[in-house]
């Protein structure tokens, strides 16, 4: 409040009013952003949270628009039109299964904006007579470094998620050494620029190094690690906006960027913990390369396969069923068929729950959004730690396109790349039914011993087709 009053007091007339309005709108926007995240904590208040964010953003934009030193609105409006034309159709028509790609793309846009703004600010300085101070320059360098690497990194993540680029990690000799020297060179350029802000020849080099490192960072990362990487890029994009706030001395930018940075950081920590891996391991471990030999050497155990009608019988006779969805469900777009199966089973009095592993899918919360889209009540979606104790009492664990998150090797096989990762205890269920396209190993390229257990039945085929067939069988035997 003091800031607002001060702004009103020290100025007068039209310009003064505009400045006071801008200041007030920024203060309110910052408060609304915090409230918006607070309300997002529970599904019942979450939409109010989104609304608070929208109002805060609208106020802040209005505040920016009334500033008196704006001489023309032509290019601002052009930017708005282009942005709305690009953003709205994506939000309206995009399939929910494509949410990870869209998120990666939006991180790219956010980071691009920060890098462009930082670049523009640097070249606006009269570098010979009045270069920026080292403090400002330090933040500006961080802004374009984070912005640049997040821009290309997120574009690469988008390419991998959209499967324009190969989803397996791409590795080459001395990759980590090479990547880290690019990062090192970028940091050295940033430090030199901070000490000598007038060395303008170095600025383009910093930009090139930043965007190059962004590409290199994502090349060795496999699809299964995308949830962590997306969260990390989210954090970087936020920090980049925060750094911009330091350059411009804008508290609103600092706060909004810090909130985004904190959110991305928490999510990536949760993802890492859910895989029992460190940031370093995710970023530099090239997890998910095709495992040559190692596992293939062992004897091949036989698997028992079943047809949809048998599975329908087993499910229909069960009391408790736990469904474990994975990325395969998203790929097959099977969530609506899962809902049909859920309806049929619920009608028969079967208690159906869904077990959600934090890293199932390609981004944090991916499975929850897909199942919510299929109108499965969210109180049926249970987190890993809360449901793991229920598997021994569960008659059927139905695994739909999940693999590594149910691999018992994570518990006991010290040689397995996923050793130590917390898993869903599907193998403790009385019967396991696993829906899978074929016996090919999952993303991490590891054999899954769950499939060769005596009480496991494999239901081979496209998840959407076989779940639909199972639901039909159940409906048929129900007297419809």
């Amino acid at each position: 409040m003091n800031a607002i009053l001060a702004a009103v007091e020290q100025t007068s007339g039209e310009h003064g009013m505009a400045t006071a309005f801008a200041t007030a709108s920024y203060v309110i926007a910052a408060a609304l952003f915090v409230l918006s995240l607070k309300w997002l904590s529970a599904p019942s208040t979450a939409r109010r949270g989104n609304l608070a964010g929208e109002i805060g953003m609208t106020l802040a934009i209005l505040g920016a628009l009334v500033q008196h030193d704006i001489i023309s609105y032509r290019w601002i409006i052009t930017g708005f039109v282009v942005g709305a034309a690009a953003g709205a159709p994506m939000a309206i028509w995009m399939r929910m299964t494509a949410v990870p790609q869209r998120t990666a793309l939006s991180h790219a846009f956010g980071a691009l904006a920060a890098a462009l703004v930082g670049t523009a600010h640097y070249y606006l300085y009269d570098l010979h007579n009045a270069p920026p101070t080292s403090v400002v320059m330090g933040f500006l360098c961080l802004e374009v470094l984070l912005g640049g690497l997040t821009f290309t990194g997120s574009l690469m993540a988008f390419g991998k998620l959209q499967e324009i680029l190969p989803t397996r990690p791409i590795v080459f000799k001395n990759q980590n050494v090479f990547n880290l020297s690019i990062l090192g060179a970028a940091i050295i350029s940033a430090v030199l620029l901070t000490i000598h802000p007038q060395w303008s020849w170095l600025f383009p080099i910093l930009l090139v190094l930043a965007v190059t490192f962004g590409v290199l960072l994502i090349i060795p990362i496999g699809g299964a690690d995308m949830p962590t990487v997306i969260a990390l890029l989210n954090s970087y994009a936020g920090l980049s906006a925060s750094m911009m706030g330091f350059v411009l001395n804008s508290k609103l930018l600092i706060i909004a960027g810090a909130l985004d940075g904190a959110s991305g950081f928490i999510l990536s920590v949760i993802m890492c913990r859910a895989m029992n891996r460190s940031f370093t391991n995710v970023l530099f471990g090239a997890f998910g390369q095709v495992q040559t030999s190692a596992a293939g050497a062992g004897e091949k155990k036989a698997v028992k396969s079943a047809q949809a009608d048998e599975v329908a019988q087993i499910l229909g006779a069960a009391q408790n069923v736990i469904v474990i969805p994975g990325y395969g469900m998203a790929v097959a777009q099977a969530q609506h068929k899962v809902r049909e199966l859920y309806d049929q089973l619920t009608k028969r009095g079967v208690n159906v729950k869904f077990a959600i592993h934090p890293v199932a899918g390609r981004m944090p919360g991916h499975m929850n959004v897909l199942l919510a889209e299929a109108e499965i009540p969210y109180d049926r979606l249970v987190e890993m730690d809360d449901i793991n104790g229920e598997f021994p009492q569960c008659d059927v664990a139905l695994v739909i396109g999940a693999n590594d998150v149910v691999n018992p090797a994570a518990r006991h096989d010290k040689s397995s790349p996923i050793y130590g990762m917390p898993i869903l205890n599907a193998d403790k269920a009385k019967t396991v039914v696993a829906i899978k396209r074929s016996m090919n190993p999952g993303f991490a390229g590891i054999d899954n011993e769950l499939y060769t257990l005596d009480r496991t039945l494999m239901l081979f085929g496209d998840a959407k087709a076989v779940i639909s067939a199972t639901a039909r069988e159940l409906a048929g035997s129900n007297g419809h």
Partner: protein, 96 residues
């Protein structure tokens, strides 16, 4: 010279507040959380607006306009998709 120390205080307080608030967000909503925070960090649009509107140099106008477009894509798309997702989370059966 910007007021560095107060900026750092603001950053630290906002980061701690963010960590505390976001820790409470249900894992159910982690996807909408990410799209909402991403829209919020598109607040950099206010700096881009200033660049595109004050037209201090050709370069700053061009980069500013591009930045307005990029940030506004996130604002429009981000809030819309977040709302679309949040609308889907229902506690009880809605079908008859």
């Amino acid at each position: 010279m910007p007021d560095l120390s107060s900026d750092i205080y603001v950053f630290l307080l906002a980061a701690f507040l963010g960590l505390e608030v976001i820790k409470r967000v249900s894992p159910l909503l982690h996807t909408p959380l990410m799209s909402l925070t991403n829209s919020i960090s598109a607040i950099s649009v206010i700096a881009a607006i200033e660049l595109a509107g004050t037209q201090r140099s050709t370069l700053s106008t061009v980069l500013g306009t591009l930045a307005v477009a990029a940030a506004f894509t996130n604002i429009v798309g981000g809030f819309m998709i977040t709302d679309r997702m949040l609308k889907m989370f229902k506690k009880r059966e809605v079908r008859p």
